[in-house]
């Protein structure tokens, strides 16, 4: 009986032809590129994980304010963009602050902490604006970026909360703070390298956003 199933499987495998069920959905490629864009560079990935750790350090009932602020800021950021390379330094700086916050004072000073996802969302939105091209394609890609950033942050925060609730040992909380300290250190180093590696004038996150706001408004 077994040999029959072997032969059956072999025939199916050898007889397989390339799937031609459907042609690519128009704009799908751009959408997926946008979806992974918030994790495509070290600066964005560090910022996303830093913000995720920051959110994970707060009480779950209060996180809605931080998540809501990020959603709104990402949306606004997409309209403020396109960002420039100068935003790389700003994202590393903000990633450092978010990581240091969740490592040193986790779950504290919510009214001030909410500023970090706001600025982070603006930066992620601004760097996610695609190059000039057909409006439809750009909108699809930006929609992907918007979803990628927010679902990504939701997942990072969710995984942290699930791990914390599933494993209630004290060291789990400490482990997240240690990871935050490590990511903060990496972000700070990358920020320093931004200044060391390039002669291009770098500006802070607040300066970068204020410059764009000044140009747009």
């Amino acid at each position: 009986m077994r040999i029959f199933w072997w032969c059956f499987g072999l025939v199916f495998t050898l007889g397989a032809v390339p799937a031609r069920a459907h042609s690519p959905m128009p704009g799908a490629e751009g959408f997926y590129i946008g979806l992974i864009h918030p994790f495509s560079t070290p600066s964005q990935a560090l910022l996303m994980f830093g913000l995720g750790l920051l959110l994970g350090s707060f009480d779950t009932k209060k996180v809605r304010w931080l998540l809501g602020a990020f959603v709104l800021a990402t949306f606004i950021g997409l309209f403020l963009g396109p960002g420039s390379n100068q935003l790389e330094a700003a994202m590393f700086a903000l990633a450092f602050f978010a990581c240091a916050w969740s490592a040193l004072i986790p779950g504290k000073l919510l009214p001030i902490a909410v500023m970090l996802p706001v600025i982070g969302g603006l930066l992620i939105g601004m760097v996610s604006v695609p190059d000039p091209g057909p409006t439809t394609d750009r909108v699809i890609t930006m929609t992907g970026s918007m979803l990628g950033a927010n679902i990504g942050l939701l997942y990072i925060w969710g995984i942290i909360i699930v791990v914390k609730e599933r494993y209630t040992w004290k060291w789990v909380e400490i482990a997240f703070r240690v990871v935050a300290a490590w990511l903060g250190a990496i972000s700070l180093l990358m920020l320093a390298l931004q200044f060391a590696a390039s002669d291009v004038a770098q500006i802070s996150a607040v300066e970068a956003i204020s410059v764009v706001l000044h140009e747009r408004l």
């Binding site: 040193l104 060291w171 703070r177 240690v178 490590w182 700070l188 320093a192």
Partner: protein, 198 residues
Amino acid sequence: MSRHTVFFLFLVAIAITWSSAPSMAHSGDGYGGGFVAGFTHPIVGWDHVAAMVAVGLWGAFLGSPAIWALPIVFPLVMAFGAVIGIAELPLPAVETGIALSAVVLGLMIVFAVRPPLWVAAIIVGAFAIFHGYAHGTELPSTVNAFAYAVGFVIATGLLHLIGIGFGVPAKWPAGKLAVRSAGGLISLAGIGFLTGMI
């Protein structure tokens, strides 16, 4: 598996081992090369190893909250030191500071010094500046800076973890003696680094 089969496989393994040539699949640059360079940097320097392990050991000796506070403070402050190094700002006596970190932290463990947490954090943080500076001065020239930074921060953290692991037996009287002895060894090694004997 019969004895003959095992013997045959053993011979095959030897034949393959002898006939193997150096792998030339990749050049060691990019993310992999950067990570390996960063990861090995704190590990191959004995002065770094001694100090990192001492931080974890002292943290474990002091107990909660120092056991987790010191390994959190160290990488963050170390990164500041690296920034100073990358910016090429002058910092005097870097090697002396690194060697002294092993001496001082080792002595803290030997004499079971239990200062307030903030004092311990300042002591550890001050030495972290020197370690970070040394890493930072070598960082910009590496193949991939991001992978290098990830590698050396993880390696530093794992060395702390090793120190904490060695320090856990400090809960018991015999373990406390062993941990204090280890502190003495680290301190002696520090003197060796300081005098150039090691």
